[in-house]
């Protein structure tokens, strides 16, 4: 009993995930086919990459509402570049850098000018979406992957049978996990979220760390933008709208505190899987569109109540 309790305490949301999986697979056996499992991973890779970056931001006590807009802008830039004939191996790193720079813009405003992250990224979200509209004239770029084999590989390719988006997701999970758990920078991220004043008095470069988390978030969003563009083989001017809320939900469901200082990347991974399984499962079960939203909200609420109960 005691053993169970301690497992439950540590992995409350993991249990939510398993229960979800069991329920859905009991209702429809198609759920647990290899195709569908890979399908889910492919789908969550976009939200996942954003949520990983968001985890860093939230751990410092910040928030990044501009991730969806950065995704949209970098996806559109990618599309326009490729259509203009720039090779994809050049265009892809370029938009990743641009994503990082957009994040850096957020980060500098937040750390140097000491503005509130919520409102800064709300404003830049609007600005970046506006920029996407301006550069695209509101028109999508279509059929992008035709002459862009590398870009195409980002969604269609696979390595050892693992779809490439899933591969990217896991690769960055490991990379960012090491960054967060085993580097001085990672400690700084937790320290700033725990108490920025204490971090400062310990002579940590708080401004630099705070800027960097937004750079990571921006770069991850741009990477998600590359994958989405590849998946759709087109750049939609409105792509990314609302993605910030899904990413934040994943992070918080994963047990990271919005107050900062407490949370794990592993939790975020579970969080994105819960959201992914939920979205996929509701379709697989065939729940009517009208009820899907309601049930989604309910499950999220349930997951955080459970997490709360387990952590205290």
């Amino acid at each position: 009993m005691n053993k169970f309790e301690s497992v439950y305490r540590k992995y409350g949301t993991l249990i939510v995930l398993f229960v979800l999986i069991i329920i859905v697979s009991l209702i429809n056996s198609k759920f647990l086919t290899m195709y569908n499992i890979l399908n889910i991973f492919r789908q969550v890779s976009i939200n996942g990459l954003i949520a990983f970056g968001m985890t860093f931001v939230i751990l410092t006590g910040g928030i990044d509402l501009s991730v969806g807009a950065i995704l949209g802008l970098s996806g559109m830039l990618l599309g326009l570049m490729v259509v203009a004939g720039i090779p994809d191996i050049v265009a892809i790193p370029t938009v990743l850098i641009i994503g990082a720079l957009l994040g850096c813009f957020n980060g500098i405003l937040i750390s140097k000018l000491k503005l509130q992250a919520f409102i800064v990224t709300l404003a830049t979200m609007t600005m970046f979406s506006g920029l996407t509209m301006i550069i695209s004239d509101g028109i999508p770029a279509m059929g992008i992957t035709k002459n862009a084999p590398v870009l195409d590989f980002f969604s269609q390719g696979s390595i050892l049978g693992i779809p490439f988006p899933m591969f990217v997701l896991i690769f960055f999970y490991i990379l960012l996990l090491i960054l967060l758990q085993n580097t001085v920078f990672g400690r700084g991220v937790y320290a700033i979220g725990g108490n920025e004043e204490v971090a400062r008095l310990s002579s940590l470069p708080t401004n630099r760390i705070k800027t960097l988390v937004y750079v990571i978030s921006g770069a991850m969003s741009a990477l998600a933008g590359v994958i989405l563009t590849s998946r759709l083989s087109s750049s939609q001017p409105t792509a990314g709208t609302g993605f910030e809320l899904d990413a934040i939900a994943a992070v918080v469901i994963g047990g990271t505190s919005l107050a900062g200082g407490r949370g794990r990347l592993f939790g975020t991974f579970i969080g994105i899987l819960i959201i992914g399984v939920l979205n996929n499962g509701l379709n697989i079960i065939g729940v009517s569109a009208f009820y899907q939203q309601f049930i989604k909200g309910l499950v999220i609420l349930f997951a955080i109540i459970l997490d709360r109960k387990s952590s205290r």
Binding site: K30, P140, T238, I284, A289
Partner: protein
Amino acid sequence: GGDSGEGSGGGEGKEKIALLMADLGNPFFHVLRDAVVNQGEELGYEVLVYDGQNDASKQPSQIEDALQKGVSAIIINPGDESSTANALEDAIAQEIPVVTVDRSVDVEGVLSYLVTDNLKGGKLVGEWLQEKMPEGGKVIHIEGVIGTAPQRERGGGFLSVIDPKENPDSKFEVIDTAVGDFSMAPAEAAMSDLLAKHDDIDVVFAQNDTMAVGVSRAIETAGRQDDGIVIIGFDGAKEAYDLIEQGKMSVTAVQDFEFIGSEAVKYVNDFLKDGTKPEEEVLVDVYMSDEK
């Protein structure tokens, strides 16, 4: 892209027409916008374009703003049937001609409704399908933003023909419905899920072409492009024709936005010139097309 509005400096002397679009985020509506702007410029007007950004509650404010700027006429593509009614009443009270395009508005005294017949369009899709596949088949229905008129009318028209519950003669079976919000990414995701669920799919009807493109991509990603799934879109957008040409999509139901846009400006122009009134309600037919 001639999204105007910024022309306030240049066109001092010109009369102004306000064009209120429901959602320029949907590229297909650019066809309508461009048709109005081009025809307007040809006839010597300055066209002020407003974007409702897919939010019906933005449009009343935009009408008020337009009136404020002293426009001589309003062409509106309303987000829904009634949100703008009160605001348009104000305009009509100021004797400003109002033409609604693509959707109607529930208000008295509009100069003309120039409306795509979405219900008929939906039926047409169904009838086309029955003719093409008399033996019937399994259908997936991808819907647009729930609660909007095109979603209800296109879907309603389609189901009235295809769904055995509404038409006992139908040999088709609607095996699943999903929501794609009239945009590509959610349609692609939903279709990917449904491909996991169903091994046997004959037809996918997407309520607009953007979603149809997403559906086609999902099928490609799943490696089932050779299953012979018939994909039907709606709108007649460029991307649909591209896919049809590549054999990845079957057909789209075309709304004649070129016609609607230029007609609307002509109605306004005639009325402003000599008070000629067009027919109050012009239903513009949809036609099925699989070639450009």
